[in-house]
Amino acid sequence: EPEVTQTPSHQVTQMGQEVILRCVPISNHLYFYWYRQILGQKVEFLVSFYNNEISEKSEIFDDQFSVERPDGSNFTLKIRSTKLEDSAMYFCASRGPGHQPQHFGDGTRLSIL
């Protein structure tokens, strides 16, 4: 069964450094999302992406964050200058048309030191 893949599975970074989280959505999906989950808390929406542009973003998704679909298969989330509070599990999700659920990747655990 097709799945969403994310790399790396775990990223440790010094505060202030840039990180790029990578995702390969399911190939025929058109809608892409990033969510984050701080340890023990609920899953929070960050951003959605459709037709090569951001369709919606949350208050969390400030100027430090950006997304890109550079080559038609990968979907990346960049955090330019990481803060301690960016430590979380970041999930990528994709969705096909119609009434399909979002399919989530296994996540990237981001640890900011």
Binding site: Y31, Y33, Y35, Q41, K42, V43, E44, F45, S48, Y50, S55, E56, S58, F91, R95, H99, Q100, P101, Q102, H103, F104, G105, D106, G107
Partner: protein
């Protein structure tokens, strides 16, 4: 602002027993989803509920939706240890980005 409330947040039950998890949401919505998450793992889609009165069943789990009451339930029948996980409900809206707004999750522990 759409809010999603789940209860209980923690549920410890014996194998063989029945129980229900509740999910209330604050505004009109078109779609209600249930996901399962095992510790350190991703979110696995369980059910998609699209209309008032929708009921779906898979094994020992049954989900229902009452859009008038803005309530969904996840009913567990004759629980087994393998059902131990965290269960999230999430609400989406048709059109636009259809971002999901999640509840806080219900951590279910099924004891032998």
């Amino acid at each position: 602002e759409l809010k999603v409330e789940q209860n209980p947040l923690f549920l410890s039950m014996q194998e063989g027993k029945n129980y229900t998890i509740y999910c209330n949401y604050s505004t009109t919505s078109d779609r209600l989803y249930w996901y399962r998450q095992d510790p350190g793992k991703s979110l696995e889609s369980l059910f998609v509920l699209l209309s008032n009165g929708a009921v779906k069943q898979e094994g020992r789990l049954m989900a229902s939706l009452d859009t008038k009451a803005r309530l969904s339930t996840l009913h567990i029948t004759a629980a087994v240890h393998d059902l131990s996980a965290t269960y999230f409900c999430a609400v989406g809206r048709q059109g636009g980005s259809e971002k999901l707004v999640f509840g806080k999750g219900t951590k279910l522990t099924v004891n032998p």
